[in-house]
Symmetry: C2
Amino acid sequence: MRTSQFPLNTLKETPSDAEIISHKLMIRAGMIRKLASGLYAWLPLGLRVLRKVENVVREEMNRAGALEVAMPMVQPAELWQESGRWEQYGPELTRLRDRHEREFCLGPTHEEIITDLARNELKSYKQLPVNYYQIQPKFRDEIRPRFGVMRAREFIMKDAYSFHADEESLQLTYDAMYTAYSTIFTRLGLGFRPVLADTGSIGGSHSHEFHVLADSGEDAIAFSDSSDYAANIEQAEAPALTGPTETEAELTLVDTPNRHSIEEVGAFLKSAPERILKTLLVAGKEGGVVALLLRGDHALNVIKTEKLGVAATPLRFAGEQEVRDAAGCVSGSLGPIGLKTPVLVDRSAAALVNFVCGANQDGKHYTGVNWGRDLPQPGADAIVDIRNVVDGDPSPDGRGRLRIARGIEVGHIFQLGAKYSEAMNATVLNEQGKSQTMMMGCYGIGVSRVVAAAIEQNHDDKGIIWPGALAPFQVALVPINMQASERLQQATEQLYADLTAAGLDVLLDDRKARPGVMFADMELIGIPHRLVISDKGLDEGILEYKGRRDADSKTIAISEAPGFLRRACGN
Amino acid sequence: MRTSQFPLNTLKETPSDAEIISHKLMIRAGMIRKLASGLYAWLPLGLRVLRKVENVVREEMNRAGALEVAMPMVQPAELWQESGRWEQYGPELTRLRDRHEREFCLGPTHEEIITDLARNELKSYKQLPVNYYQIQPKFRDEIRPRFGVMRAREFIMKDAYSFHADEESLQLTYDAMYTAYSTIFTRLGLGFRPVLADTGSIGGSHSHEFHVLADSGEDAIAFSDSSDYAANIEQAEAPALTGPTETEAELTLVDTPNRHSIEEVGAFLKSAPERILKTLLVAGKEGGVVALLLRGDHALNVIKTEKLGVAATPLRFAGEQEVRDAAGCVSGSLGPIGLKTPVLVDRSAAALVNFVCGANQDGKHYTGVNWGRDLPQPGADAIVDIRNVVDGDPSPDGRGRLRIARGIEVGHIFQLGAKYSEAMNATVLNEQGKSQTMMMGCYGIGVSRVVAAAIEQNHDDKGIIWPGALAPFQVALVPINMQASERLQQATEQLYADLTAAGLDVLLDDRKARPGVMFADMELIGIPHRLVISDKGLDEGILEYKGRRDADSKTIAISEAPGFLRRACGN
């Protein structure tokens, strides 16, 4: 391809509304353009990259035996009413009426549609398992669309849904999808990690997220430095950390005037945060309030807490008046001694000795507090995991220590079980000729998000650095001042023909532009390999080659260019 | 592929709501399933065919220098308000509100979006011409979705939009698209015809439709038996047919009791329809009524009549009372003698002599009527083309006679001119550095409709007969009772491997099913080439081959099968 026939739409200036690097670079490189909040058009350069992702995803889904289908984006309300989600789904679900006032929605996902299809097509256990997938636009009316295509309202998703006679079969397909996803992200050249995930509102039992690792990632991931263990921080199990072995100190009531936070109290009492007990009051599930006790250096994990079924869902912290009614003080002086509310104690907080906690009197704390002596030893039921893991925690699988990384979720696989098939009566006849509800799995990849995530992981101050499998072109061929030299024109055309004949995907920059402009554009749009051909080089039969990550260029013989680049591109 | 891994979803029964053969066969073959009125899911078999169409369209669009983009399906109201179509477009345009109550619509077409994109990206005449295209779902809320994917509400369309500095450039791209479309439908193996078309409400000057010829087509096409001339019947110019050379007969008022239609009057008076003048009263553009005069054997062409700007648009026939007020009789006795309304006379009606017409008295007609003597010779302005051409009319290009065929519109190319670019201020700087409105063309192909149209053209009582380029698989390999013979299993696997290695796309029917069931399915889904392998054939080293259109099968040597089929498939 030539820039004269494939015009670049690069921009010098960074768009003012772009907050993250991938959004900035995708706009500047001319990959996407914003049409409205969360709605983007893909320009030719961006679409080439998107199609590369699509193709790898399609190949691996096919290889894993999944069958491609295409379901409508506009979905009838009746099916969502059957599953119960028409009422449950919030304003992210865009509802509309057709000319006959019938209700529809724009598909944010297709569980209802595929379950309807499956219950009509699948009659016998002999037809199972089957795994249907599609790659197509989805619409979710995000309350705050941002970060370009990273969190857009209309986006491209690969969604797959499998149907099974039993859990064993579901597990097999789930494992096959886990493998296929690993292959997909490996083939795309991305640093990624599959992590245990919360199944959230979509329901079901087992779930893994696939994260592209990037410092700018929205999600925190905990992984072992010595094993395969990895989990979303929402999910990672926190161990009980043991406290120091000390003789019991004396319980003392101390003044802590105007000291409310752990940091303030710790600084005032010269006590480390891990020696202070943090007391949080939240609304209880059955009304009233519940106290949550953690070590001062640990953060509450909302998801884990909600799952215990003791606090109200969604979790809500008690207001000032509720705190005073329950404890008689401001929240900065809360503590468990004498508190009458139900109590949940984080495992590590339960192991503290000689600790500091609020005294339930304004401006006062206790020091030298000990479980059993100063307040009741919590029962086994009350000792729970309600904190986020932190860097250095022992790994839950007993191997190594946890490290924390940032990730961008690009894939998610679920075992849905019978959630949808039961609600929608999707059954088959089993071997005994009896009707039996099918088991389901679902498997998503944010195809358009993968493009942005790849950039978050692979860029420098000059622009994008595409992994080979994602690059819109493999090689940039830049002639210097070609318009002034017929010899150079001919040599450039010949080289372009030779490279193309060698199976390389080349972008020839045949614009009448200054070399600096051409170099900057090719770096901005992230072409992995650059060849510079010039009149001067022709005299010696050489070219300048520079890999996108290389600090310096090097010289190669023109005649060797096709072979050299085939090797460099791994073709 | 094997039917064990690519399950067929064929049905024996024809769905009750399917009216046309392509709809029936697509359901029965398991290509599509209805989700709701005008909304279809594509099953794996159907999607394979759809993708074949997409790929040919994409290749030829790329070859013609068009650039692929992807625009959102959800479009902001503001752009449609700018073009003026937010108000103009009827209920086919599905409007919706997002969670912030902002208005959007589901894209039925993308002129507004691409014009907005172009006015932002294109600044100079040097960037022109450019032709952007996309292949993606569109939504049009048809009042009566029917015929399966032939007239669905959500459907797949290829839409392209070109931008130009002048009309000459627009004409060049228009011609290139005309050629590309001809190549696309030729490559798809379809009998088609490009025809001159009315530009309709989308506006602009030049336009061609591409029709797949099929007896079931909704549109009538007129084409010359001796030249390239072809036009939609709405558009085809009707020549003036000369009447017989006769001496003038006597004007006579005759009773025609209870005879109203041309047929009734003709039978009663023993006069051929082409000797009777048909008088129609329609609402005038400026109020009142207008008389339209045609030969009794000719049909009114509404589009042509509306374009003359004399009658009200849309055309409306006068009611009973309006007819009596204007002529003093029922419409079955209408005639031009003494009529005080404005009159439009079709060219062929103006050439009549000694004709019959209504007498504007209930139950009476005149015979022996002649222009000039019995009623004023119509002026040149009043002699117009307002009829449909009929089989046998002279071709408007002066070469040969017109024939009428039925067609299914699958493509449409338009010269839009400045309709959208002017309304939306899409300008570039010209060579003189002055701002200049761009010219536009637009080019559509109904990708999903092509699939249905291909079936309308290619089927028999057993099912679909795919042209090679559209077939979901090229070859069906059917082993007879394979499960009972290990030798046959091995030979079948070997043949499958050999055919696949020869680059053929083979569907191996490895179901444990009766031969008749397998044959019927392979014929229903339209696989062009069928090989039957059996234990008996193995003894002699032979196979049975049958082309989908062949009456009888023939015998070929197993060893020659790959070469034979490569030739048969044109690989």
